[in-house]
């Protein structure tokens, strides 16, 4: 459901997810990190919505590979980690 993760030497990340029939139906990622352009966060959430819950890693890596996004205070791996943590917290 919800998980928080403080990136060592970086920022706080939180993820809220809802899974139905093995798929992500709702994804919200919040925190005090920096992402340029900022609107990419909505793009990432949209890219994750509807995918199988076990495909998070590929989807996040794919998103950051296909979109020119600058991250400060968190890495794609940190996003994967907090999203997967949120799945196991439910």
């Amino acid at each position: 459901m919800r998980a928080e993760f403080k990136v060592p030497g970086g920022k706080l990340l939180a993820a809220e997810t809802e899974v139905e029939d093995g798929r992500l139906v709702r994804v919200k990622i919040t925190g005090d990190f920096f992402m340029h352009p900022e609107e990419a966060i909505e793009g990432l959430e949209n890219a994750l919505t509807g995918i199988p819950a076990n495909a998070i890693e590929d989807a996040v890596q794919g998103f950051f590979r296909d979109n020119p996004v600058d991250l400060l205070g968190a890495s794609p791996g940190d996003f994967i980690r907090v999203l997967e943590m949120s799945l196991s917290s439910s």
Partner: protein, 255 residues
Amino acid sequence: MRETWRLIDMRVEDAYTQMGIDEAIAYARVKKGTHNTIRLYRWNPSAVSVGYFQSLRDEVDLEACRRLGVDVIRRITGGGAVFHDYEGEITYSLVAPDDDPKIPRDILSSYKLICGCLINGLRSLGLDAQFKPINDITTGGRKISGNAQTRRYGVVLQHGTVLVDCDVRKVFTVLKVSDTKISDKMIRAAEERVTSIRRELGRHVSFDEARRALISGFEEGLEISLEPGELTAYEEGLMEKFRERYRSREWIFRR
């Protein structure tokens, strides 16, 4: 001959107007060929701003803000929640094209450069200030300034705060730091992490003295002359448009 940038000096406005002005200056800079700009300002009424990516309900005690008459706003920049105390802080903003030779393209390097201007100002007041990556300035290990940057409209917009005075108890009242009751122990712990110009120098530094130090710090750090100016009519019009978005519940509660 030093390059001249525009200085918009100590305009006091509410949160929605201040964020509208920053965005209007950013939008107009490349589109209308306006000047590179430094602003210093204060928020009246005092306000809480949250970063673009933050959950408002996780960060802000909305009921306490309502009770105390503190405005709540979401920034277009990332980073953390800030209490902008009218009695305790000066905010600055900087707008320049993102290909300006004075501004590094690399975001972290540009934080370091712009924070370096504030550090010049703080050092001239007698504080031992340091840049703490990613986006903070500390003195004696305590945070005295937080900063946030966006790049859009072909510009760098960076804004941030400098604490002149800090009432930690007030900060804890409006920000959700914990579900537990605010304890003296928590207050003391926070006072270990955060400080202000007045506390560090042990004297009453006026807003005017702090303001003058920051202006000189920017002039020195960017090798520019700052010339006092106002918003153009175009920027004022844009600000009014942006202000409506900043005021809207849809924007404030977006995340």
